[in-house]
């Protein structure tokens, strides 16, 4: 209550004349609990952010960027933020012991979800760090004999960037192209293998288009040639069944915040038999068997462990529901709009990802119009740029269609009503934009856009 009084006093002194609903002050009144300063002003009828008035918190359909934390995960984490604050590496007192046993329990929970042994799990700060350790760490360790890496054009930026880094150090990288459905061609993979190939890195579920690569088959090929196989399974964890032995992976990158866990934590699976070794990217106290020095963040790790345990229990239930919602969304949009294309394979796809292109509609304008729906045109990392997605370009999607893509991410907490509302708003917005589009008008009149000779400038 005192904070409320203070806040209203503050507000009066800071903005003596401005009515509350105007975005005049950068200080938002302290809310009931958190007295944090937020860079926008909330009012009863909406919020002003970036000059736009939003009437309520947008419905969240961007699950590939990050997922909300499950309340059961928060519940498991809170004790480690409050009273159990010990450093898990402290061996001399109870605070350390209880944190240590919590970390080990979480390690077992993560391992259980992917069919691994707890000894094969290394906690990191996230999937990006895992990918860096895997790609750079492996190649640096075996640099005397192995000088070549195979990856795909549709990998996440952190794998591609690690590869570019290796290239600057003189390693050779093969970026495999993908077929129009987003899957790699196994024959091309086989053909790309050289005697000095030190790593194959293919992501399990694509973050932008949600296609599931043929992991078992790739694993087979890698086994045949005795090449370590790394996969970025951040988007696959808890969503599709993962078995490290079936997939024959040597390294696997996992992330906490894509499975309704906390941000800032990830896990790297490292096979023990046959053993894979890496050069650490972080040196220090030798935690996590020297592979990732630095104090293990107990609350985050506990959160990730709980999230994995829940994911294992709920996978079937969630999968069924998310498939129904995807079906509902796709048929809802297709009933009312023509020329909607699903990017990437429909059959081999994680249903929580629906990447659609709406022909003749510019994606950024559509996103601007969909202020009540939190979606993105591709990955969050590149959402600031207007460049079309490199993943869609790799599929061979035309530049004009690549510009019109929207990624709808459906998750555990998405409701039918949200899907219906998203469909309604999207259809409304696309129709409005198409009405303004001369191209769409011409197509309706039967002119083939591709035949038009645009005048040269």
């Amino acid at each position: 209550m005192a904070s409320k009084l203070l806040a209203s006093a503050l507000r009066k002194t800071l903005t003596p004349h401005a009515p509350i609903s105007k975005p005049s002050s950068f200080f938002r009144a302290a809310s009931t609990a958190a007295a944090a300063v937020e860079p926008y002003e909330e009012a009863a009828d909406g919020v002003y952010m970036k000059g736009v008035k939003i009437s309520g918190r947008p419905l969240y359909l961007d699950m590939q960027a990050t997922s909300p934390v499950d309340p059961r995960v928060v519940d498991a984490m809170l004790p480690y933020y409050l009273t159990r604050y010990g450093n898990p590496h402290s061996r001399t007192h109870m605070y350390g012991w209880e944190s240590d046993s919590a970390v080990e329990a979480a390690r077992a929970q993560v391992a259980d979800l992917i069919g691994a042994s707890p000894k094969e799990i290394v906690f990191t700060s996230g999937a990006t760090e895992c990918n860096n350790i895997s790609v750079k760490g492996v190649m640096h360790f075996y640099k005397d004999k192995k000088r070549h890496v195979i990856t795909t054009q549709t990998e996440h930026k952190c794998v591609l960037d690690s590869c570019r880094h290796l290239q600057q150090e003189g390693f050779d990288i093969t970026y495999l192209p993908v077929k129009p459905d987003g899957l790699i061609d196994l024959d091309q993979l086989r053909a790309a293998i050289r005697p000095d190939t030190g790593l194959v890195s293919v992501m399990a579920v694509n973050n932008e288009i949600g296609v599931i690569q043929p992991m078992e088959e790739i694993g087979e090929i890698c086994k045949e040639f005795k090449i370590p196989f790394h996969t970025d399974a951040a988007q696959a964890l808890g969503k599709i069944p993962i078995d490290v032995d079936k997939w024959n992976v040597s390294l696997m990158s996992l992330s906490g915040h894509k499975v309704y866990g906390p941000k800032g934590v990830g896990a790297l699976y490292m096979r023990r038999r046959p053993r894979i070794r890496v050069e650490p990217q972080m040196n220090g106290g030798g935690q996590e068997r020297g592979i990732r020095s630095g104090t293990v963040p107990t609350p985050l790790v506990v959160g990730m462990g709980t999230a994995c345990e829940i994911a294992k229990k709920e996978m079937e239930y969630d999968q069924k529901r998310i498939s129904q919602l995807q079906e509902r969304m796709l048929s809802g949009i297709r009933e009312q709009l023509d020329e909607v294309v699903v990017n990437g394979s429909i059959e081999r796809r994680y249903p929580g990802n629906l990447n659609l292109s709406f022909a003749y509609v510019e994606g950024e304008s559509l996103l601007m119009g969909l202020k009540e729906v939190a979606v993105s045109s591709g990955s969050a990392c590149t959402s600031a740029s207007l460049e079309p997605s490199y993943v869609l370009r790799a599929l061979g999607v035309d530049e004009d269609m690549a510009h019109t893509s929207i990624r709808f991410g459906i998750g555990r907490f998405t409701t039918e009503e949200e899907i219906d509302r998203a469909v309604q708003l999207t259809v409304q917005q696309v129709k409005k934009l198409r009405e303004l589009s001369p191209l769409y008008e011409m197509v309706k009149e039967g002119i083939n856009i591709k035949d038009i000779q645009w005048s040269q400038h």
Partner: protein, 102 residues
């Protein structure tokens, strides 16, 4: 976990647990969490409706009780940090404001 797989809970006890879930679900200020808690509880009870093995029933019951405790705690935590701005999905509902804005 299931140390004393005591006797299976009575019908009244199960119904009470069910109603408690629905009651606690309503307390979540967050639209998605509220709907999920309700939906997940209803679906779980439906799923376990035909359990006949007493030990399976009592283990489902004690699991439910543990989940209810989590939900009860988290309903409090979520309401402590509830944002003033509601989800657009509840925008029709007039937003209650305790604070006076002269």
């Amino acid at each position: 976990m299931s140390v004393a797989a005591a006797s299976a809970p009575s019908r009244a006890e199960v119904l009470h647990l069910y109603r408690s879930f629905l009651r606690v679900a309503r307390k979540f200020p967050d639209y998605n969490i509220r709907e999920y808690t309700k939906r997940r509880a209803v679906d779980a009870f439906h799923h376990n409706r035909n359990l006949s093995d007493p030990s399976a029933i009592s283990s489902a019951f004690s699991d439910g009780k543990a989940q209810l405790e989590v939900a009860t705690r988290q309903a409090v935590v979520y309401s402590l940090y509830a944002p003033k701005l509601k989800s657009v999905m509840e925008a029709q509902i007039p937003i209650h404001r305790s604070e006076c804005t002269d």
